[in-house]
């Protein structure tokens, strides 16, 4: 079973993301900030990382930069963000983000995306 980690500081969004993935055959973990996510990634291997950009103390990008290289080599990194400037997207892809989703987003599309990734 593939493992997915959802990192977002907004409780509502975490709930939305987790709930949307409940029908898929995967194990979903949640982290409410960068440090929590860092600890979880260090302990377990994840196949998909759903990451919010703007979080207090440690942004999503900070987290990716803090991680040891090769830690998430095989994982797909999806970044969710309310930041919409192309420069942000550039910075994100340089940091290793594979898929960039702008808020507000469609949970159904998100489900499809993750489903596709899981079946790969």
């Amino acid at each position: 079973m593939k493992r997915i980690l959802i990192v977002d500081d907004e409780v509502a969004l975490r709930m939305l993301l987790t709930d949307s993935l409940e029908d898929l055959n995967c194990e979903v973990d949640e982290a409410s900030n960068g440090q929590e996510a860092y600890d979880q990634i260090s302990q377990k291997d994840y196949d998909i990382l759903v990451l919010d950009y703007m979080m207090p103390h440690m942004t999503g990008i900070d987290l990716l930069q803090k991680l040891e290289p090769n830690t998430l080599q095989d994982a797909t990194i999806i970044m969710l963000t309310a930041k919409t400037q192309t420069t942000d997207e550039q910075v994100a892809s340089e940091a290793g983000v594979d898929i960039f989703i702008k808020k507000p987003f469609s949970p159904l599309e998100f489900i499809n995306l993750v489903e596709g990734l899981l079946n790969d």
Partner: protein
């Protein structure tokens, strides 16, 4: 010359050198000779000694041998014992002499002889002699004879002859040695003589050479001198190798050159002399003709000369015609009169005395005399007075011969006058030139006045003078007092008269009687002449007035004409000064414009030289004033500026291309100031054209830091707002989509809908807050200002938060007046915000205390919580938009981050202040202060001093009352009577309030609308061991029975409605203070 001197020797050194060389050669040769002679001589002496020794040894040998033989024969003959003894002795001596001989250095022959001798001796002494002896003893003379015949004697004879031969040889040798010595001596003589000859010849040779080296230059000198005489050439090689000659040569050359020069001079002089001689000859011829002419003239002279003969006392005896003609007197009129009649009075008495002294001594007097004619005219004569002396040496008469030189004298005088005038004119023109030069370079009005006036002073004579500039009343003067000038300047009449005349006339003179103060000592009626002229500018307006005053004599027309003529160039110079001043003024105006515009301006020529710059450039680039001074070169100023910028190379490129731009171009620069602040500068380049040609570039630096910051803030705000809006929107849209498209359990559906509702609310708040802050910031927020009672307002707001059961909110009101001038709704918004924050950021509950105080004419409100607090580092930025303390604790709480910014906006609109004190994890106090609006309070300024009465009150009363109007009514009454009031709006959490204050009494409303009613609260208080003694006043609309009152030990019961005074009275009673009712 010095080189030559170094190379060549003097004769003396040359002589010393030669002498030394010769002497050393002679000594050397002599030494060698003497040494060789000495060795030869010692050889010879040795040889001689040797042969002498041989000779002696052989002699001795011969003698001894003869002696032996003699003794032997004697013995043979007489057989005498003594002879035998003698023989033996002789034999010994012979042996000795043989040995002696053997010891000598021997030739081969001698060696042979010596061996033979030895053999003989041995034979003789061993054999022959004993045999002979034997024969003798036996008297056997026959045998003896036989023995003798056996050859013994032959041997002896041989030896004897040999010794003789040796002796003769030795003799010969000695002789030969002697000969050799003699020869040697001869040789020595020859050698010595030849050495002598050689030395002599060397000396001769050397001297010859020396002579030659002296002779040669002398010869050349001779030749040169000879050639000098004939060919006029003086080139003599100055390199003889002898200093004296070198010097001599150079001196010779110089001399020769000088001679040549002299010769040339002489030739020219000679030529001159020749011409002079010719002239002389010519003169002589002329003289001859003159002499003949003079004879003619003599006659004429007699005609023209004045002759007067007087007696020895000066009485005129006779005069000639010429004299009478000149003097105008008839001869009769003069004869018999003293010469005094002729005197003009021109000469001094001394002059005549001197004349008389000369002639009375018998000497001739020559001199000029000025005499007077009969008509009173004067004439000059060049006179010679000759005294006539008789045989007794007495002067008996004088004769005066004179030539009329009146015309000469007059001419001379005229010439003098002319010369003087010329000199004067020359001086004048020089001074004028000087003035002109000075005026050309003068751009200063006062210098101009000074120079010009000095010039007039030096050229023209006048007693008083004034040069006045009309426009600024500057002047230069002579002979005036300042009062005079002031008088003139202030006298419009005089002033306008002068001006009006000068406008039409180039100059004029006024003749007037001399004023008292101009008069001086002389008390005679004199006239003064005032001369006026003016300098006019190109618009024909009078610019300068020149007034000169002469006393006693007027100005000549020439002078006036001259002065007037001078006025024109002065006018031109003055116009130039005017233009210069105007330009200066304009320039300083331009400069002050340049210095005072907001932009930095910099003018750069096409070659990159910085021509001008203003202070703003320095300010913008954060450079000191002097950092660009003297750095007009392109590289310097450009580097200085560029180094201040973020990307120096770009800026430099811009500058370089822009120094030659064809059109207006611009660039943006970011430069970092030393304080670390960034400056954003817009840089424009404008080409400046002069007569169609580009001469320079004007760079304009516009400081756009503010605009840049605003832009930055705007885009940041947009980005933040967008982010803030998208986050709740994501939840709303996301959950809606889920609800619409997924089968969900009812609980889930409810949860989703709640979330959507909450997030949508959040969105609304955000949008409202955002609109609020926009309104407030843009100043579009309208405020309906009216007097607002803050304590009431606070109670109203607190009422709204009553539902937050786990927070205790109470109000400590110690302010006498809480009325402010404000907008009711905005203030509610402000207080709601702040109290909401206090509750929100103390998630674990706790007490929220609201203190209301009066301080220095202001109402202070402090809202204290016991919440999470704010880190110190964040305190300063708390009022920034979208600022939320970035930690997990605060993140959980959420919010728009606009609340405090809005609050600050509202407070500022009320001329108030807002500030925050906080300790992290302990709590936060947000304070606001608003100006009080209580007329009475403002009137009683004494109250302002000590409005906060919390420290000296009669006590603190807790009001538990949910009717805000009634509560504030009671509160106001209590406060005016010296009590502090703590409000609590519900029965909940009263205990915490009681804990915090030392209360005088508690006023409890029975009908509290909460879950807990008044009675329960009273029960709780009375049950508490500490609080049971606290006086309780019940305030209720209900009438309560006596039993209940007693049951709960209530101290006072006040039935609503009652007057607040009743409560005050009850409180006083509780304090035992019955006087104050």
């Amino acid at each position: 010359m010095t080189n030559k001197t170094n190379r060549s020797d003097t004769i003396k050194t040359r002589f010393y050198k030669i002498t030394f060389l010769s002497l050393s050669i002679v000594i050397l040769i002599s030494a060698i000779t003497i040494f060789s002679l000495h060795s030869i001589q010692s050889d010879i002496r040795q040889q001689f000694n040797q042969s002498s020794a041989h000779y002696d040894a052989v002699g001795q040998l011969e003698y001894n041998l003869t002696q032996v033989l003699f003794r032997a024969r004697s013995y043979y003959a007489f057989q005498e014992q003594t002879d035998l003894e003698q023989l033996n002795r002789d034999l010994e001596q012979l042996e000795e002499s043989i040995d002696q001989f053997g010891n000598l250095e021997l030739s081969e022959n001698e060696r042979e002889f010596y061996t033979m001798l030895n053999t003989f001796y041995d034979t003789y002494s061993q054999t022959l002699l004993p045999q002979a002896m034997n024969y003798v003893d036996n008297d056997d003379y026959a045998s003896l004879r036989e023995l003798g015949e056996d050859g013994t004697y032959e041997d002896i004879n041989y030896f004897l002859s040999y010794t003789n031969a040796v002796q003769s040889i030795s003799e010969n040798e000695r002789n030969s040695v002697l000969n050799e010595t003699t020869e040697l001596f001869d040789l020595f003589m020859i050698v010595f003589i030849s050495i002598g000859i050689l030395s002599f010849s060397i000396i001769i040779f050397m001297i010859n050479r020396l002579l030659k080296s002296i002779h040669q230059p002398l010869d050349q000198l001779l030749v040169a001198t000879k050639s000098l005489g004939t060919e006029h050439k003086a080139n003599l090689e100055e390199n003889f190798g002898l200093q004296e000659f070198d010097t001599l040569a150079s001196t010779h050359n110089e001399m020769a050159m000088k001679i040549q020069e002299k010769e040339e001079e002489l030739v020219t002089q000679n030529q001159e002399l020749l011409t002079q001689q010719e002239q002389l000859e010519f003169n002589q011829e002329q003289l001859q003709s003159y002499i003949s002419e003079i004879e003619h003239i003599n006659k004429a002279l007699d005609q023209s000369a004045l002759v007067c003969i007087t007696d020895n006392e000066g009485k005129i005896l006779s005069v000639n015609d010429r004299f009478t003609k000149t003097s105008g007197y008839d001869e009769d009129e003069l004869t018999g009169h003293s010469t005094r009649i002729l005197k003009s009075g021109f000469h001094s008495a001394n002059y005549y005395e001197n004349l008389w002294l000369t002639i009375s001594k018998g000497k001739i007097w020559n001199g000029k005399l000025k005499n007077e004619t009969k008509d009173g005219d004067f004439y000059w004569i060049e006179a010679t007075i000759v005294p006539f002396i008789d045989q007794k040496s007495h002067i008996y008469k004088y004769i005066l011969i004179g030539i009329d030189i009146t015309e000469n004298i007059n001419n001379e005088q005229q010439l003098q006058l002319l010369l003087h005038e010329t000199q004067y004119e020359k001086d004048k023109s020089e001074k004028y030139g000087l003035l002109n030069k000075e005026l050309t370079f003068t751009s200063d009005r006062s210098t101009f006045l000074k120079q010009t006036f000095r010039y007039f002073e030096s050229i023209f004579h006048f007693e008083k003078g004034l040069l006045l500039s009309i426009y600024d009343n500057a002047y230069e003067q002579k002979g005036f007092t300042p009062e005079h000038i002031n008088e003139l300047l202030n006298s419009d009449e005089v002033y306008s008269y002068i001006l009006s005349r000068l406008e039409n006339e180039s100059h004029y003179v006024i003749k007037r009687e001399v004023k008292q103060d101009e008069k001086g000592v002389a008390d005679v009626k004199t006239f003064a002449y005032d001369f006026y002229t003016s300098v006019k500018n190109d618009r024909d307006e009078v610019e300068l007035v020149l007034a000169l005053t002469r006393i006693g004599h007027t100005f000549t027309d020439e002078e006036m004409e001259e002065i007037s003529l001078l006025m024109k160039p002065l006018g031109m110079a003055l116009s130039r000064i005017n233009i210069y001043e105007a330009v200066q003024l304009e320039r300083s105006l331009n400069n002050s414009i340049i210095q005072n515009v907001n932009e930095g301006l910099q003018l750069v020529s096409v070659d990159g030289t910085m021509l001008q710059t203003n202070q703003n450039v320095f300010d913008i680039f954060d450079l000191e004033d002097d950092q660009l001074v003297g750095t007009s070169m392109q590289a310097n100023w450009m580097d200085q500026l560029a180094n201040q910028c973020e990307s120096p190379s770009d800026i430099k490129r811009f500058f370089k291309t822009m120094i030659n731009p064809s059109t207006l171009t611009e660039a943006s620069i970011a430069c970092r100031q030393s304080s670390g602040n960034m400056k954003y500068i817009k840089l424009y380049a404008f080409p400046i054209f002069t007569k169609g040609e580009k001469t320079s570039t004007l760079f304009v630096f516009r400081d756009q830091t503010k605009e840049h910051e605003v832009d930055q803030m705007k885009s940041e705000l947009v980005s933040t707002v967008s982010h803030e809006l998208r986050t709740p929107l994501s939840s709303v849209l996301g959950f809606t989509e889920m609800l619409l498209h997924k089968e969900l359990k009812p609980e889930k559906k409810k949860l989703y809908l709640e979330t959507i509702y909450r997030e949508a609310q959040r969105l609304t708040t955000l949008i409202n807050d955002f609109l609020d802050i926009q309104r407030i910031e843009s100043g579009k927020q309208e405020y309906n200002m009216e007097p607002v009672e803050l304590n009431r307002l606070i109670m109203e707001v607190v009422q709204l938060f009553k539902q937050h059961t786990h927070h205790t909110i109470h109000i400590e009101d110690t302010a006498l007046s809480t009325t402010v001038w404000g907008d009711h709704d905005r203030l509610i918004q402000l207080l709601t915000n702040l109290i909401n924050n206090a509750i929100k950021f103390s998630p674990d509950g706790g007490i929220v205390t609201i203190q209301i105080q009066n301080k220095a004419n202001k109402v202070h409100i402090h809202i204290k919580d016991e919440g999470i607090g704010i880190p110190k580092s964040e305190l300063n930025s708390m009022f920034t938009k979208f600022k939320r303390v970035d930690n997990s604790a605060s993140k959980k709480i959420g919010g728009t981050g606009l609340g405090l910014a809005i609050s600050k906006g509202i407070v500022q609109a009320h001329q108030g202040d807002i500030w925050i004190d906080s300790i992290e994890n302990e709590g936060t106090t947000v304070s606001i202060s608003l100006p009080s609006h209580d007329q009475q309070m403002l009137l009683h300024s004494s109250l302002q001093e000590d409005n906060d009465r919390s420290h000296d009150t009669k006590g603190t009363i807790l009001l538990v009352e949910d009717d805000i109007s009634f509560a504030s009514l009671l509160s106001d009454s209590l406060k005016t009577n010296g009590f502090n009031v703590v409000h609590h709006l519900s029965a909940q959490n009263v205990s915490t309030v009681i804990n915090q204050h030392s209360l005088t009494a508690i006023v409890i409303d029975l009908m509290l609308d909460d879950t807990m009613n008044g009675w329960e609260l009273i029960e709780e208080i009375k049950a508490h061991p500490k609080w049971r003694t606290l006086p309780i006043i019940v305030s209720s609309a209900l009438s309560v029975g006596q039993d209940l009152s007693e049951k709960y030990q209530i101290d006072a019961y006040l039935e609503k409605p009652y007057s607040p005074d009743v409560l005050v009275k009850a409180c006083h009673e509780l304090l035992g203070d019955t006087d104050n009712s």
